[in-house]
């Protein structure tokens, strides 16, 4: 028998990094900026959490450092993609390469060659077997909705993505708001990374994000830029990743690579089905320049 409750709990655990990153990216995209560099920001978060914990034996500080690292890389992204109006996709891709290099170099410099295993403590679970990052991710879903749709600053952010010229005319500072949103997205991606490394794995492996940042991007799109949509899509992916463990437990005679490939196949399928981008912010991906 499949233990339904354990399966659900596992799915929520696996969905956590995706949800955290997707919520951050939703804010960034609502302001009009596509940040494909969140993959790299997650990786930075995952690594710096582990690095910080080996230096300061305090999990909370590890998580804070992870958020900081993600936010810093996002700030670098914003300098180029927001302030200098460089192509957002190009800068995002470069951020990913940069993060791969920085984490790989520092990992080997600090812990030795690839394959050296670093063990860190794992975040303790609070309620229902879920750690603080998972609860934070779940709570941030309604908070995001409230902020975006019920506050003035949320409205200003949405205006930056829909009508930046009008937003600027009505007194908003588009470049500053976009920068802040991107940095927020980076901090969330950093936390997402921490939830991978110190949240569940208790270690860091080079390129351990393995495309999860891009899956988070797909979650934002297929969740139609809404907080609830992100939650649902993230849970779907958590469930798909969970299938691998169910398959093992049930002794399904299928190649394990199939399960490893499944999240990526499902991403494509979801994006295919939700092909219309009617709900996308009108100025998504387009740089804003002051006249």
């Amino acid at each position: 028998m499949i233990d339904i409750i354990a399966t659900l709990q596992g799915a929520i655990t696996l969905a956590t990094p995706l949800l955290l990153a997707a919520i951050g990216e939703t804010v960034s995209q609502k302001s009009g900026v596509v940040n494909v560099g969140i993959e790299g920001m997650m990786l930075m978060g995952a690594f710096s959490a582990v690095l910080a914990i080996t230096i300061l034996p305090n999990l909370a500080m590890g998580i804070a450092v992870a958020g900081l690292a993600g936010g810093l890389l996002a700030l670098l992204f914003a300098v180029f993609a927001v302030r200098l109006s460089a192509n957002q996709v190009v800068v995002g891709v470069v951020m990913n390469l940069l993060a791969l290099g920085i984490t790989g170099t520092l990992y080997r410099a600090r812990f030795g060659e690839t394959g050296t295993f670093v063990k860190t403590p794992i975040l303790p679970s609070l309620l229902f077997g879920q750690n603080i990052l998972t609860w934070f991710a779940l709570i941030s879903v309604p908070l995001l909705w409230l902020w975006l749709y019920k506050t003035r600053s949320g409205l200003a952010v949405r205006a930056c993505g829909e009508q930046p010229i009008a937003a600027e005319a009505s007194g908003a500072n588009v470049l500053r708001l976009r920068t802040l949103c991107v940095v927020f997205g980076g901090v969330m991606a950093g936390l997402a990374g921490a939830s991978l490394s110190v949240g569940t794995a208790g270690t860091f492996i080079e390129n351990m994000t393995a495309g999860r940042g891009f899956i988070a991007l797909a979650i934002v799109t297929s969740g139609r830029w809404s907080a609830l949509g992100c939650l649902i899509a993230a849970l779907v992916f958590g469930g798909v990743e969970q299938l691998q463990f169910i398959g093992q437990a049930q002794g399904w005679r299928l190649p394990y690579q199939l399960f490893l490939a499944l999240p990526y196949v499902v991403t494509l399928a979801l994006l295919m089905l939700g092909g219309k981008t009617g709900q996308a912010p009108a100025f998504l991906g387009r740089p804003y320049r002051r006249a």
């Binding site: 180029f80 940069l98 410099a109 060659e113 196949v265």
Partner: protein
């Protein structure tokens, strides 16, 4: 920059001179970058630079033939994947799919080798090359189709297709393509007759055995052909117009969909070729994690080359040298590893992208 705003064709000589001038500028800039990174990692800069130089170019004591040919060897797949990125990005498709297209290409090429082991070597080699190119093209077309028909952004779809391709490779070398004893995750060695011959006789290279193979000729031909296609044919003009000014392309009644499909097919075919050449010229067997990220390095290669085929070839050479240089450095210096290359690449591309954006910050066009 005027040459990126209008799709006009600069003369080959000017293009070459420009690329050379850029190469010199970049080399100086990258040396500075390297020194800074060394200082950050507490490696004596002069010693570090010397190790990189010896690994990439050579030294009096150990000779120049081997390191130089190794640099060329590493530049071959990078040139081809770099060309692939040039083609796709020039068409306005920000594909990151080179890695997956290459991977599918080598799986298909190895399958063909297994099925056609009885064929004469040259014929088999031709089939393998064609098979790798067409399967790479199909993998690229999949992303183009998703974009055109289903409005799926190629940035995401190509990454997903990369990971799917990697799992297909992992499955193939533990399944249908696994070596006869079924122990290691790799294929049997390819038939020797189907391998690409080495082109430098030892009498020429002071008796040193080099690994440079026929693939280098293919890479040069590919650079020339892509250059001609992009800058000297109506098809190439249309491709660049779609990428730079989709509105104008619409006014000119160009069929954007078919141009994008063509661009992604060509882009994928180049990656398939890159993989097949590496398989048939260097490794001779297929195994897990075959590519050390050529498909991803292709992006900095193409960007540093100014999204120009000739520029991409030069920057591939540069990165080829940097790769053999840093692995030489890693052998002698503790705490420095070959991933250092990524930092250098990322920082270098950032500098180029930033410089261009800075130059165009007042202009109304989006820059890449």
């Amino acid at each position: 920059m005027s040459d990126t705003n209008l799709p006009n064709a600069p003369t080959p000589l000017i293009t070459l001179l420009r690329a050379l001038a850029k190469g010199v500028t970049y080399s100086v800039g990258l040396t500075v970058l390297l020194v800074l990174t060394f200082l950050a990692l507490r490696v004596p800069p002069m010693e570090g630079l010397a190790k990189i130089w010896e690994g990439a170019i050579g030294s009096k004591d150990d000779g120049y033939w081997y390191p130089l040919t190794e640099t060329l060897l590493k530049a071959i797949p990078l040139t081809l994947t770099g060309l692939s990125v040039v083609v796709a990005w020039r068409a306005g498709l920000f594909s990151i799919g080179a890695e997956g297209q290459l991977t599918i290409g080598i799986v298909v090429a190895t399958s063909i080798a297994k099925l056609g082991a009885h064929l004469p070597g040259t014929l088999l080699a031709i089939f393998m090359l064609i098979g790798a190119m067409s399967s790479g093209a199909l993998w690229g077309l999949l992303a183009a189709w998703l974009r055109i028909r289903r409005n799926v952004q190629e940035v995401i779809s190509t990454i997903m297709l990369n990971y799917i391709a990697l799992q297909i490779l992992a499955w193939a070398v533990e399944g249908p393509l696994q070596e006869a004893t079924h122990v290691k995750p790799q294929s049997d060695p390819l038939p020797t007759a189907a391998l690409l011959p080495r082109i430098l006789p030892m009498s020429l290279t002071d008796g040193i055995q080099t690994r440079l193979h026929l693939g280098v000729v293919f890479a040069v031909i590919a650079v020339i052909m892509v250059t001609i296609y992009l800058f000297r044919t109506p098809g190439g003009f249309a491709l660049r117009l779609i990428g730079q000014n989709p509105e104008a392309a619409k006014l000119a009644r160009l069929n954007a969909d078919s141009i994008r499909l063509k661009a992604m097919a060509l882009s994928g075919a180049l990656c398939g070729l890159a993989g097949a050449i590496e398989l048939m010229g260097v490794t001779g067997t297929l195994y897990r994690d075959f590519s050390p990220g050529w498909g991803y390095t292709a992006i900095p290669v193409a960007l540093l080359g100014g999204l120009h085929p000739v520029g991409a070839a030069f920057s591939a050479l540069f990165f080829g040298g940097l790769t053999s240089g840093t692995s030489n450095l890693a052998r002698f210096t503790k705490g420095v590893s070959s991933v250092l290359v990524y930092v250098i690449q990322g920082a270098a591309v950032l500098a180029v992208v930033g410089a261009r954006a800075w130059k165009n910050r007042k202009a109304g066009t989006e820059v890449d």
